[in-house]
Symmetry: D2
Subunit: 288 residues, 4 copies
């Protein structure tokens, strides 16, 4: 955001950007205030969790017409995106395995009823592999070599790095473009792996994002910019800030009417008991 030609501040929404901003900030090279909208509650919970829960099914059905009932699926990563994917797959009757590096997320997966295992252990038996890690080279040649014929591979995480495509762009494997966003990668023995969107984000390439969730995310982004623009001198230094809880709550409140949802109001007495204001913010900043 600029004012009279000068950059006033930055608001970032994608998963990778905050990391990069925090690194700039740590090394003193961040020259404007930045608001990390990506880690706001509305972004994490609504955009990641609910949006992926909805768009995964559509993306898979549109490209492959796969039946979910009884399918064995491994989901790599159990953050917000992974949680959304696992929830809808389980709900539709798939048997879901989870891989994780973070023990907290792994324990959540266990308690939610998913077997936590490594990709190596299950890759031979699954019908679908979905990456949601935010990391690179999660699905590698060693995994792809062991998949069974017809296994579907796709990425719901970020960018196009989660599946190591270089490792299968080799002479001995044949690629066949069978329809929009669908390639068959064919091994010398005839085995076919079904690769969606060439490893790019399935929800963006082969599905659609519910406009309602987009509205939540865009409102959050807009409010962050307005806050940076209107903030009195000195409120924000050249650092990275989380979105004030109050704004997160405001965005949410704007989106309740479509559900005909009716909020309750705190009495004076209750607000005092909780030590908060009647109009919020209702939770501490670190609340998720």
């Amino acid at each position: 955001m600029t004012s009279g030609g000068a950059l006033i501040g930055v608001s970032v929404l994608t998963a990778g950007s905050p990391t990069w901003l925090y690194q700039l900030s740590k090394t003193g090279r961040l020259c404007v205030p930045a608001i990390n909208v990506n880690d706001s509650v509305t972004k994490q919970k609504f955009d990641n969790l609910y949006c992926c829960k909805e768009s995964l099914l559509k993306g898979l059905k549109r490209t492959t017409d796969v039946m979910f009932g009884g399918k064995q699926v491994v989901v790599c990563g159990y953050g917000g995106v992974g949680k959304g994917c696992c929830a809808s797959l389980k709900a539709m009757g798939a048997i879901v395995y989870v891989t994780e590096v973070d023990p907290i997320c792994a324990l959540q997966a266990c308690m939610d009823g998913f077997r936590v295992t490594t990709l190596c252990e299950v890759v031979k038996q699954v019908d679908v592999v979905i990456t949601c890690t935010g990391n690179k080279s999660v699905v590698r040649r060693e995994h792809l070599d062991r998949m069974k014929n017809g296994c579907i591979v796709c990425n719901m995480g970020h960018s196009n790095t989660e599946i190591d495509l270089e490792s299968i762009r080799t002479a001995e494997l044949r690629w066949e473009h069978v329809r929009t966003q669908v390639h068959h990668v064919i091994w010398p023995d005839g085995k076919r792996v079904v690769l969606l969107a060439e490893g790019r984000l399935l929800n963006l390439s082969c599905s659609t994002v519910p406009s309602f969730v987009l509205s939540i995310t865009a409102a959050t982004q807009a409010l962050a910019l307005i806050e940076l623009f209107n903030a009195p001198e000195g409120r924000y230094k050249h650092d990275v800030y989380l979105l004030p809880k109050k704004m997160d709550e405001y965005v949410a409140s704007l989106h309740l009417s479509i559900f005909d949802a009716h909020l309750s109001e705190l009495t004076d007495d209750q607000a005092k008991y909780l030590g908060i204001k009647k109009q919020g913010p209702f939770k501490p900043t670190y609340y998720r």
Copy 2:
């Protein structure tokens, strides 16, 4: 925790305590370092969400033998505890309504498939009322007067303040102790409201807490104390700290073997890509 008679630090686990500590800190009256374990991920997610999901059903079955299928239930509050209660009730075939003051939690309830409404609007039709707010006087005489005959009222939130008991300890209402932890409060017209545990916590009074979840919580609490004890001079000031993410992750990792869960490991390349260490912490402190 004391050393040689001197208080070294404090670690707090219950929902109310952090508020009180932050107030002490703000006013400069906190005379030792404090770790807010209550807001650690393992406490919020495991103790609140999963524990209540399990113990609510047992508490209700043990005291009232209520059948869940088709029952209309209103859950007041959609934080960790409310989310757990709603999840198990919905899973068991109940029709669940949610009341909330916080628009973010309200929007989550909507997206999870619950009607968000006020207690006044649904209290006449529901079979069960459950409080999970952390607040006081959420169920008041005006609500109790409108409940139907046989409505069950109980508290999963905190303390014994969520249901305004004073308002029904009056001359015109008769209390009948029908069995352990179960009272019938009888209106002059014969209507009976079934009050569990006299408004105290159902999960502690009428159910049991899974020992596995207790182990998670106790381990977190113990590690916080060890950290305060071992911390070099100056690491912690007279302030309130969240549990270091690394410890949260360590506690979780200790509890994976019971599920035969297998963690994946980051490659050097992947750790570098994410800008984190291979052994974690895997998430920023504010991650939930």
Copy 3:
């Protein structure tokens, strides 16, 4: 099926046909044996329940991109198709109401956690109306007039009779063809109702049927014909027969390998205890 020009028998698969056959049989006008495949277990449970569970979501997403989370939906009819639709909608976070004429199905809906109500009572508040009744004129002008702007109406039941289209093919309403299989019907005040597939079956017009389920149904149909062809003189009279349980079971057994499912085998002792043969049939004919 004919042999040397003569009709040998009939096998029927669609919902309406058995009724018609039973009427022919009752009045002595059925001139060949008929097998009612429609009421075989594999047809009722797999084709109706599971197939609709999968294809409803795809049909709605493809035509309208509707987000399911928090949407209010009324499903008319709680037979096999209705049960499948309700299960997937609930799983995806919709709030589902059911209408029924049959008290047994209505009670099942209650126990499964759905509010059973009449279309008149909820039609003003819902976002989506889905018919699964096998009946005619279930959604009538009186209902369509009361729907809110943007309400989606579609048919998963049978034929194109469930929505009374004649009643909205009138001069005062304008039809706009907004995209393939999607019409907006526009009221004089500007209200739009979103009509899918002009009231024809959504799963056939706007979605796809999982090939796996088709395989089950086609195998059942084929076996019924083979049975009629091979049956010794006199096994089948000019009447309507249910598919022999043994064949139903055989079809199912052919479809287990895709799931890597491993059947258990009865010991001699167990078969004797149950009074059945070790190779089945395992259930009485009337078992569903």
Copy 4:
């Protein structure tokens, strides 16, 4: 049921009895009419499915306080009882395996998202074993020998024959009665298997049956007897009959008001279209 000392007819409710009656009938030894209430829709769907769904959780919690989240459970049998058990276990976060002899039930289990396997294959890894087969000796010494320490074994099926108790009432195994309805069977190496209710029905021995479901079942039983008593001479021969659909529907209709459920009514036109009476029966006799 007798009249003036003479037996008029029999109505049977339990799973085993119909088999026995059909055998009597086939061999011409049934000397009165019998109504097989066990296979009525209300008995199969409500008593078996919903009742077990509710009572399993209570039975397990009351006796063992087991946490369901993340537990591996094998359910032997996927009929009405098994379906109910699996549904609630999955809903509460358990990982559920199913064993079956009948390929139709096995395929249903697959489509519902359960791995179908043999007891031998999973018995080493599971935390709980539940029998719902209606058969004998389903869990045998060879399985019990391979269970892990602390594995819980119980029976939801019928009688006390599903677990082969004789095989563990042997000298080398020690039985310890640890509390009401709970025995530890201790192997020479110290391994303990937790046996509930000495293999009798968990839902009857350690839980309670929802009174609502009992009311449905008892009403069905009573109506069957009234029908036999009032039936004009000749309506029923010395044979086994299924409960007339009309009565099944009547019982269901009596139980709708507790849910505030509102039935829809057929118009004359709709009834004619379906070829049925406006007041039902709404489904053919073989409908489940």
